[in-house]
Subunit: 334 residues, 4 copies
Amino acid sequence: MIRLGVIGYGYWGPNLVRNFNATPGCVIMTICDLVEENLAKAKQSYSFVKVTKNYRDIIQAPDIDAVLIATPVSSHFTIAHEALENGKHIFVEKPLTLSVKQAQILVDLAQRKNLKIMVDHTFLFTGAIKCIKKVLAEETLGKLFYYDSTRIRLGAFQDDVDVIWDLAPHDFSILDYLIAEKPLAISSQGVDHFETGRINLASIFLYYPDNFVAQIRLNWLAPLKIRQILLSGQKKMLVWDDVEADEKIKIYDAGVDIKTSDNRRDILVDYRVGDVLSPHIVRKEALEEEAKYFVHCINTGTEPLNNGQAGLRVVKWLEASDLSLKNGGQRIAL
Amino acid sequence: MIRLGVIGYGYWGPNLVRNFNATPGCVIMTICDLVEENLAKAKQSYSFVKVTKNYRDIIQAPDIDAVLIATPVSSHFTIAHEALENGKHIFVEKPLTLSVKQAQILVDLAQRKNLKIMVDHTFLFTGAIKCIKKVLAEETLGKLFYYDSTRIRLGAFQDDVDVIWDLAPHDFSILDYLIAEKPLAISSQGVDHFETGRINLASIFLYYPDNFVAQIRLNWLAPLKIRQILLSGQKKMLVWDDVEADEKIKIYDAGVDIKTSDNRRDILVDYRVGDVLSPHIVRKEALEEEAKYFVHCINTGTEPLNNGQAGLRVVKWLEASDLSLKNGGQRIAL
Amino acid sequence: MIRLGVIGYGYWGPNLVRNFNATPGCVIMTICDLVEENLAKAKQSYSFVKVTKNYRDIIQAPDIDAVLIATPVSSHFTIAHEALENGKHIFVEKPLTLSVKQAQILVDLAQRKNLKIMVDHTFLFTGAIKCIKKVLAEETLGKLFYYDSTRIRLGAFQDDVDVIWDLAPHDFSILDYLIAEKPLAISSQGVDHFETGRINLASIFLYYPDNFVAQIRLNWLAPLKIRQILLSGQKKMLVWDDVEADEKIKIYDAGVDIKTSDNRRDILVDYRVGDVLSPHIVRKEALEEEAKYFVHCINTGTEPLNNGQAGLRVVKWLEASDLSLKNGGQRIAL
Amino acid sequence: MIRLGVIGYGYWGPNLVRNFNATPGCVIMTICDLVEENLAKAKQSYSFVKVTKNYRDIIQAPDIDAVLIATPVSSHFTIAHEALENGKHIFVEKPLTLSVKQAQILVDLAQRKNLKIMVDHTFLFTGAIKCIKKVLAEETLGKLFYYDSTRIRLGAFQDDVDVIWDLAPHDFSILDYLIAEKPLAISSQGVDHFETGRINLASIFLYYPDNFVAQIRLNWLAPLKIRQILLSGQKKMLVWDDVEADEKIKIYDAGVDIKTSDNRRDILVDYRVGDVLSPHIVRKEALEEEAKYFVHCINTGTEPLNNGQAGLRVVKWLEASDLSLKNGGQRIAL
């Protein structure tokens, strides 16, 4: 029985608690938050837990094995570091830290202490991603050309991070999981309409080996909610529309075959448009799957796919995005 | 009665001829194409026209007042230049030329000769753009934040131009028409998946004064056809979905009011979501409107809104895109 | 403080309890169900309630003021009758009873005892219906022509009632609420594909005064989920698409004006197509509103709009539908 | 070379002429219409044809082999009859005639004269129907449960026929083509909102052997254009959405297995929801296919699938619909 402490019971913490509470093999011991009202809610829903305003009551508790960290990003490093130092496994909200340097320290520390870090890259545990992973494993799409993601909606302005640090971790972790190769360079554009010091609209372009590219469009100020990813290959093309209730994934038997002749100007283009298949996706809460997986990884010593190294890579690309932004969108080698 | 010659009767030429033929105040005299079969088709549909394989039969004809040029882009400059030299008004497919230098020569020549240049920026003559122009004139949207366009589909690989020179003229001419300010800088990313020498997927970011930005996503290799433009302002937000049969335009009474306090980290965000209005758009073929307008401009001496200068600005931004692409997406000042 | 007992904690009961539990001015005292497991769940979520397998523990309890009845339809009458006899107000799932005769007895009994009956016609408490009610009150649509409802999906075969008794109460209660006139006649078609004794696909047509008609298409065996209502008038037309996440209601400024000349064969049709407005609908759980309203009605003595009489009318139309079905779709006068 | 005369060049006639003119093996000789302006248009587009206001110029012409009849329905019988009497094959708009009696006379006459009748049931020549026919032939759907068609839009009020005679021929001809069994009985409801003598909204229910049913919802007064057909079977379910530009047909691997136990009240329902497949439909104008088929049938003596008998069956069901309407929706045996 893995004994859990939860630090942060604001927006996302209750989701963690609800799902881990329903997961066999673990038990929630203590919940920490700075806001009295949040603790009252926690106590009301889970009368058996202890509550505290001092996160060290969790981190230093001898009867706690692992800590779920759902605090603002700026506090991740300090709390995570102390938790590891105290011998606790950690489950940390994305992004793991505010810098590569911090992430590396955590990764090294966890390794030294033989502890698990799991970063909450929730999308990896959706039915949709499992389906796409399978499609790619079966080489249904052929050689991949591009990943094109749009993640826009009205609202959810964060006062902690900008739109890239808020939303790009979703795409970065998906790319990290799906694409074996890692990006060579990154270029980011963005704008801070309200001069809050944090951009609210951004466009990211990642260059991979062999002409694969990824582009990501992020926007907190859009009237529509769009969460759409195109993943195109030589043989087939896939679209994941996460706003759709049904038919979230469609696989298009469509493509273009291009033959260039000796005379370079003559391109022979052969279009192909065929059936569209929407594979059935089992509806399950991703976090429920992820909670089980965390327990499983600790119990079996399995290295999580969304481990500290994965979290570190995501932070690395975020840092590079920042650097590109600061340099007028210049391409930053990774 | 304006007497017209048409040079190029391949893909787009027949559309020009069909619409100009139905336009009062003009008559099509001669059609030129290099392909025998195309001329046969022209003759079959319009038994009264002369046909020729030599474009100079049109350009030098004393009984022709204006020339419609629907040839590959690389030939625009030569044909247009000769036509102007011979005292003909010209209507040229987009983009006007392959370089700013060429475009400038045409603009200067037309001015000297007191002739009209009209560039076929067809979208400006759609009901949708007229509606948006009116919405902006009435300041319905408030201070503008961004223009975000997606223009993707499967196919239509051009062997003449790349995806930017093919599709960006649509957005550039729309931006030129709708937005009074002109862009300060441009940044472009792209990829040439088939190593044809022409990129087939691109992402363009334009920086305007006062934090207005435009982003444009272009793709010849997408399984879905998307033609969607978001235009967001402080007060309202507009979406133009050109693939929709009805309700092409929606105006969202939605927005975000942001108040930054002294403590810069505290952002007070006030969301607003209200009614959605889809104004009725009259369905008319844009080219029909444009043909009438060309005749009108020549007859009345009116300077076309899509004149040589407009065409030149579009080419200028295309050139800057190319330069950015060649420099790894570097921001190019305009 | 109104003290509530809940009878039936299977599919819908937990929704009632969750909403009434969050409603000020009432408290849930006891929950009854025949299934041990259901009672355990109730106890786990609401540790303060008493649980029982005997509904008379609720009906005869002196410390209970009102009873929520969420049992199978066949048991509604008996339980409701006993509850009223024992001086309890009742809140009953739809349909109120299995016959007009039963419903009339309950209505009479409640009146004699000065108790409230409220039938759970949940849709009346949605933001959408409030919006439509307002649109009709303002005579936006003009003289009404028809109501056309499609309510289909895969599944939810009931072993208690057929597709008409399951789904038509939604439309009947909506019609009863929105349309001042009552239907003159009803005609129903249906089919029982699996020979279970209960039809699973039905089509109902209601004839109202002055050429207003309502048609309702019900289907438990459809691959798509459609919940769409068209409500058309002389001036405007409204569509309520309840499956849409946003823009559930659209008001079309569209119509047809028809002038018949003396020569009856000549019809002059004048089409009108204008803007489409999607009014903002506040998202709130309908049942939460309904729970507050039940408490309000009891406290203030207000007669609920979804009172026993309304429930009785719905049952009357259900009975007439059955009669029509049994007579090959014959039109049954009401 | 089959020599064609065309009678009626109003709304649909030009489509016939355009397609037959492009069909090898036939030539359009003469076009007849009562309106001078229509004839002028015909002459302008097809300078080689003769035009006339007297249909007998076509029917009695020795150099005409077949007559295309696109006149108002009320004149079909007279013209068709004379054409057959004069030894011409006929292609007649739907519905074939205004009565079964008339249709039977034409069928008998054509047989006696060894001439072909083809009724313009255009939908049978769409890619969608060919796809569905194939799906049914392969028994993909299993035992069929129902056909459910919605055919609504704003407008197109006919002053010749009511909404059933205008639109139901589409569904009746599709049913006649797809479903081997023929309906046993029919029930129709409808309303004539403008008291023009012609109903503008209707609902038709057809009863087939073995619990297969078809329902058809027709409406000239709807703000939305819907053309959707559901065809559900024991194994899979198909939806044809003809308003969709792409993915017109979807095949749902979904269904319900129902086992009734001895105790009739206990139904064991087993839901199945799986992949959705949208087969690629070749885009071709249906009328082009039909024109070729007409020429083919005459040349080879093949009996058209949409022959006079098929046209007669459609008229028979229309007559039965009328009878049901006149009798308050009563079920009429066929």
